[in-house]
Point group: C2
Chain length 139, copies 2
Amino acid sequence: MKMTTKGRYGLRAMADLAVHHDGDNFIPLKHISERQHISENYLERLMAGLRRSGLVQAQRGTQGGYRLARKPEEITVRDILEAVREPMALTDCVEEGQTSCRGHYCTSRKVWQKMTDSLIRMADSITLYEMVHGEEHDR
Amino acid sequence: MKMTTKGRYGLRAMADLAVHHDGDNFIPLKHISERQHISENYLERLMAGLRRSGLVQAQRGTQGGYRLARKPEEITVRDILEAVREPMALTDCVEEGQTSCRGHYCTSRKVWQKMTDSLIRMADSITLYEMVHGEEHDR
DNA sequence: CCGAAAGCCAACCAATTAAGTAGGGAATGA
DNA sequence: TCATTCCCTACTTAATTGGTTGGCTTTCGG
């Protein structure tokens, strides 16, 4: 039940973009990669997911790079995790589309469902804005 | 962020013990393994963890096997997951003992902490009894 | 006392997945 | 036109998971 680097790096990259944004300018991946100590090549793949999900915009060429496509308060942790393909479902049997697993003895399934739900609710309730500004009211 | 077989099998084994308990008698691993379609050898290792954590009692020899060491209402999902070493902390940086990770840019850490907490709270609130009796009040 | 039925345990192995690397292409702006 | 930067595919390595082998010990019935 560990987060993979996809989720961890993805969140850090987005936080970096939020913190170092500079008007409408684009931030080259190289800078993020250096600040976050994440291999540029690997980060690139994560950015592809973030771009396809419409969380960031990219610009090629000189002065190119990435920037947030929406305001930080309109991007949730869940958005990010799904964009980088960090699966939120704790088991395959509670995955989207799945209705029931092997039937017998799946009392466990209800437990995984509840735990997954609570995870998703939490990820949904935290925005990138709150993340970088460290809001502290309990949930 | 997927559960491993440790957690999944562990929960199923415990549910099996709860459902098929038979007074003070012990249930041989073989039966659980057959009912749950889990390799006996692999299950064995999980039972070792459950035993060390005091969730089940074992008895060797003829008529031996396993049985719950406490009442199902006194065993939580969290107890089980920890006993089989399914880590509850979503990242290493929110693991027990860790106070801070690499310092800079660890805005993410607070997020992982919150998500881990919500997971643990949920796992703590579900007992084996509720699990096998399918209680349905929302949490 | 003997032997079958169980649990106990350490070492090993295979398959899968995660993580990281290499390298070429295409757009963009100075 | 050239340096810069994103874009994409294929490959490689490392780690973890899931499972197996096999021998040992305890216990109890006969």
